[in-house]
Symmetry: C2
Subunit: 353 residues, 2 copies
């Protein structure tokens, strides 16, 4: 395909948002299936094709959807798919690729529709900072358009039907990505997040299920999709997020009031390594980027913003480095390109060491 996938993440990545000294993104995702074909795991190619065609037709003619960009995921290279997964555009399932898997993105990169993922339709709205309500509102509007035009698989008893029973009901998963360097540095993350499971919430790492807690990023989302309305679920999630924001704020304050030299040491050593290393793997890069957040908050890096720092966690991932560096292939060359990328990013900073 002719599209340059590296351009796809540009716009939303540049956005700032409320509370983004702690909250990176808010995302609300809906899982939907069409009654016209078996659900993807059981569908023949023909079924998948008909689903993709129906969605293509709708998007092509509907005035509110016409601006969406179409990406044939099946035609992408593994590297391009990895890039989109790292960039939080497609799911790990979608990264596997395959025929009749299609991705739509709106012009502002707020909304994404994945076709023939685990369900016929996975649509989400992603916004920078704490914006679960606007995200829910926006994705519901798009869901309404699809629901009115296409026949959803729906049960009066259970609600929306999905491939995995964990999504049945609302089909909604609202997730908020938090960056918690303060709680991590004071070893309070576990304590701060222990209220999540009893509230029907679950905690994951940056890249979803089974991913590590890369660079002190934590993703909190609803586990329960059945028996509550979308609004109720989002309210519970927001309540939890507000609590965690309070605790992270207190941890950062504690660090700077009681452990100032220690936390300055961590921040400036990270900065020293980011601006000087010649070889760096992605795990180390994430570890070093994390304390930079506290430096921004202290005004050490006057030209670096919270949301720019959040973007870097994605920008240092392997496929991003590989695609931006060009011809590199091996992990070693990538580690060199990553170090170079970080040096050039950070050397332009106005740092008050």
């Amino acid at each position: 395909m002719d599209m340059d996938v590296t351009k796809l993440t540009e716009k939303w990545a540049l956005a700032a948002g409320p509370e983004n000294h702690i909250v990176v993104t808010s995302r609300v995702r809906l899982a939907r299936n069409l009654a016209m074909a078996p659900f993807p795991p059981r569908a023949e190619k023909e079924g998948l094709r008909r689903v993709a065609e129906a969605v293509d037709t709708l998007i092509g003619k509907h005035p509110e959807l016409r601006g969406f960009m179409r990406v044939d995921v099946g035609a992408l290279s593994p590297l391009e798919r990895a890039f989109l997964k790292e960039g939080y555009i497609i799911s790990p399932e979608m990264e596997l690729g395959g025929e009749h898997r299609v991705l739509y993105l709106d012009q502002l990169r707020h909304c994404v529709i994945m076709i023939n993922e685990e369900d016929h339709l996975r649509m989400y709205c992603l916004r920078a900072g704490l914006q679960t309500d606007p995200s829910l509102e926006e994705i519901s509007r798009i869901d309404g358009i699809f629901g009115r035009a296409l026949n959803y698989a729906f049960s009066d008893k259970y609600g929306y039907l999905t491939t995995c029973p964990s999504n049945v009901g609302t089909g909604m998963r609202a997730s908020v990505m938090l960056h918690l360097p303060g709680l991590a540095m004071t070893r309070q993350v576990e304590e701060a997040l222990k209220a999540a499971p009893p509230s029907g919430l679950t905690v994951r790492g940056y890249y979803g299920e089974n991913s590590e807690f890369l660079g002190d990023f934590y993703q909190i989302s609803n586990e329960v999709t059945l028996g509550r309305t979308e609004g109720e679920i989002v309210t519970v999630l927001q309540g939890m997020i507000r609590q965690v924001i309070e605790r992270e704020t207190a941890a950062r304050k504690h660090l700077f009031q009681r452990k100032q030299t220690y936390v300055e040491d961590v921040i400036w050593r990270a900065y020293g390594a980011l601006t000087h290393a010649r070889i760096m793997n992605s795990t180390e890069a994430c570890k070093l980027l994390s304390p930079m957040r506290l430096g921004i908050e202290r005004g050490y890096f006057s030209t670096l913003s919270h949301h720019e720092l959040s973007q870097l966690i994605v920008a240092v991932q392997p496929a991003h480095i590989q695609l931006s560096a060009g011809s590199q292939t091996g992990a070693e060359e990538r580690d060199v390109a990553r170090a170079q990328f970080l040096r050039s990013k950070f050397s332009r900073l106005d740092a008050n060491n």
Copy 2:
């Protein structure tokens, strides 16, 4: 006492010397005892007093020795004694302090005479870089003055008599301090130094017997003092040093030709930490200072010289930091003062990152 011990190391510490991209210092030390009193371990206070008095008198009236500065080691605080040991001025034995232990230093800080150490007299000449011959010549001249004025304990059969049998004969120990970051980084130190023991030479760390190989510094000295002349011993030592210099030079060349990015990574990360850390213990400081040598050689730090770097290994030791920082007492405060000292030293560098 009124003397500021921190001034004592200033002059020799600033000197440059031949081969000092690898050779830090050359030292020739002579052990002598006077026939007038039992050797120190067996001497009564009165005997030690008489020895000190005899030396005081000689130095006070001899035209070539009159310029020597007298330091009553017994009157120094433990911190001041630690400072002098770190600075390579007095031996670990002398650091223990005690009555009638006296130290004399010449104006240029090339020569030191310790009175009532393990032997009545321990005198050495220390020069920057590879200068074993001038050191031997200079200390022999001073030894001649003492030998003509005082009655040395001497046996026609064994030579100079000393407290420890390992010094009997010439009473001489010639040692050369080498900095081998290239061999350390390529894991070739052991191989390069394995010829030492068969040649009657021994390898020690920066602070002599049982000290660690701090910051890749290695001290090579003669084990044998009996049955060879001073000149023969020094010639063997010089031969070994020449070999090690060749190997270290080859290792550095190899690193920059074959492992350029790796070695640049190590150098610049060290520099990044030295210029940014807020807390640093002396072990880490030595580890980070070591690769800086290679950076100097590559012209990365145009305003830092080899001998200035060598001084820093001493300057970051605990008593040095404590005395220069003033009121600090605990290890934590010292680590903060050390980081501050290093930042101020290195931030003035003209680094070509």
